[in-house]
């Protein structure tokens, strides 16, 4: 097991890969080893310097015209052969949907363990990776370690903040790998509704739940969100049962961590809380004083959202003028 050395990061999402470097950097320091990034694509070599500026000691560049578009089968083959040749001890992979599939299949090929969606990564006295992640719809935190190497973990967007870029030296290793044939054929790509995307990146989210009677009533939530420079979202029943929207915040939907979350007419089912629990400040507004959402709120308002939301809009307009 001791022959494994190095902390590696990979994500097909470039920003997420830079965040992984921030997460991997203290691990590499703790293990007294190198931090390396794997850059795969076509014509991507020019990005290697930027990756080094963001904390990587080494960049493996797999530049091949057949790897122009991210494709799990071909990227997996490239990654597997790189890892088999170089034997890193820790591999962090960006927890996108495709990244999770990639990590699972990589772990299967290397006959090792993989911990998904980690929120915290540390090294114990024995030099092993310790991960923390949420399970049971947000009701428990599991701390885990590994019995085999390499130790693979996936990490969601915005778990770590990118390091400040600075000039530093690093090695760029150009690698040739055999590129496999993709087993899948993509015959079409369609964008999902704009309203449903990028909610993860919103700084402020105003979220509506079953307490909202009609879809039109979302207008006042939208006004509030717009005033705050944020976005609106909703709970699962509004999408799945009432069919008002296609996406939602929750365990099976989007996981958000805005600086401010305002929940309107949301009871706070554990499945929803799993999607918003990492918000910095939580405001909860509900008629029912016993609503579970109040347990995870910084500011609790018991009242009618149809009165309070417009009042907040008015109060904000007044205050924002004074600033």
């Amino acid at each position: 097991m001791s022959e494994h050395k190095g902390v590696w990061v990979f994500s097909e999402n470039y920003d997420l890969m830079l965040e992984l470097l921030a997460g991997g950097s203290p691990l590499a320091a703790n293990c007294k080893t190198e931090l390396a990034a794997v850059l795969i694509g076509s014509g991507v070599e020019s990005k290697a310097d930027d990756i080094i500026r963001h904390g990587s000691d080494k960049v493996f560049v797999v530049d091949n015209s057949c790897l122009k578009n991210f494709q799990i089968d071909t990227y997996l083959k490239a990654l597997t052969s790189l890892i088999t040749d170089n034997k890193p001890e820790i591999i962090l992979i960006g927890s996108t949907k495709n990244g999770k599939e990639l990590a699972s299949r990589l772990a299967a090929r290397l006959e090792t363990g993989c911990t998904p969606d980690c929120s915290q990564l540390t090294i114990n006295k024995e030099g092993q990776l310790i991960t923390k992640r949420i399970v049971y719809s947000g009701n428990a935190v599991v701390t885990a370690t590994y019995r085999k190497k390499p130790q693979i973990a996936t990490v969601p967007l915005r778990t770590f903040e990118k390091l400040e870029p600075k000039e530093r030296s690093g090695k760029i290793m150009k690698v040739e790998v055999e590129v496999g044939e993709p087993k899948l054929e993509v015959v079409g790509v369609n964008r999902l509704e704009v309203a449903d995307v990028k909610i993860e990146e919103a700084r402020i989210v105003v979220c509506g739940g079953r307490g909202i009677e009609k879809k039109e009533d979302f207008k006042s939530l939208e006004e509030l969100a717009q005033l705050l420079g944020g976005q609106v979202s909703n709970t699962r029943p509004l999408a799945e049962d009432r069919k008002w929207f296609t996406g939602w915040v929750g365990l099976s939907g989007k996981k958000i961590k805005p600086t401010l979350y305002i929940g309107c007419g949301i009871s706070g089912m554990i499945q929803h809380v799993a999607g918003m629990r990492d918000s910095q400040i939580v405001v909860a507004l509900n008629k029912d004083p016993e609503a579970a959402i109040f347990e995870v709120a910084d500011y609790v308002i018991v009242g009618d959202l149809y009165e309070i939301v417009p009042a907040i809009v008015e109060a904000l307009k007044k205050e924002l003028k004074n600033i």
Binding site: K97, A108, G188, N190, A297, A311, K318
Partner: protein, 264 residues
């Protein structure tokens, strides 16, 4: 006519979980088990494909404890036959060990065209078993399906990603993992439940499928659980009250400005 295998996990019924109000610790004892939600969607989809194309639907479950009630429910929903791999050695198996067991069980059940799994389980939510199984069986996998069609040994899937959906196709045999939005699982009729009691559930031990005990449980797992505890909730829980909505709103806005989350 396709032969479809559905992998069913007997998961903790997360909606029944409660935390102890004083300690905030999770109470898992006595919490009921059920077929994991997304696996039920996978089963429903398999049964719909069978209703359209004919063929056979079988289910495979690996479990430490008896899962016959769950499998009986699957049979009532329309599966033709259930396989249960039950062995105490499976205790504390991670996805590496579980996928090894499922792969060997699937091989023993014979030829198949499609394997359907839920995108993830409702308790662990790791989303690994489907993709891992594909690697062990050396067949293609398409994850996160919201629509599946099957024709002439080609499976075509609408795969949902963060900002788009892709229409993807591959040759069978293949594995597809499904999302919750793909369908609404049926509630079996009384007639279907009665019919299901006559369907067969085959029970295997690990030895029956040729899996050595050291390949499962803690020794066969890649991940070792160190601790499970309730998450810390560190919220202020400040109740904002007032004579009228306007007063409440003003107080809230002042707090948010103080916290630096509004007005920057």
């Amino acid at each position: 006519m396709p032969r479809i295998i559905v992998c069913l996990k007997q998961a903790i019924d997360v909606s029944q979980l409660k935390a102890d109000p004083s300690t905030r610790r999770l109470i898992t004892d006595g919490v009921s088990r059920k077929i994991s939600d997304f696996d039920k969607n996978a089963l429903e989809e398999a049964v719909r494909l069978k209703e359209k194309l004919g063929g056979e639907v079988i289910t495979v479950t690996a479990s430490v404890e008896d899962a016959k009630t769950s499998i009986r429910e699957a049979l009532a929903m329309g599966a033709d036959k259930g396989y249960l791999i039950i062995d105490e050695a499976l205790q504390n198996s991670d996805t590496l060990a579980t996928s090894t067991v499922l792969a060997e069980a699937v091989k023993k059940t014979g030829q198949f065209d499609l394997i359907l799994c839920g995108e993830a389980s409702i308790d662990g939510f790791s989303a690994q078993v489907g993709p891992r199984l594909a690697e062990l069986l050396k067949i293609p996998v398409i994850t996160y399906a919201r629509k599946i069609s099957f024709e002439d040994n080609i499976v075509t899937v609408e795969k949902v990603l963060e900002d788009r959906y892709e229409t993807v196709k591959t040759k069978t045999p293949a594995i597809v993992t499904v999302t919750k939005e793909i369908n609404e699982p049926r509630i079996p009729s009384l007639m279907a439940i009665m019919k299901a009691s006559k369907k067969e559930i085959v029970t295997w031990r690990l030895a029956d499928i040729g899996v050595l005990p050291e390949k499962v449980g803690e020794t066969g797992s890649g991940v070792k659980i160190v601790d499970v505890s309730a998450p810390k909730v560190e919220r202020k829980k400040v109740v904002i009250e007032g004579e009228n909505p306007a007063e409440i709103a003003e107080k809230l806005v002042k707090k948010l400005i103080q916290d630096g989350v509004v007005g920057r």
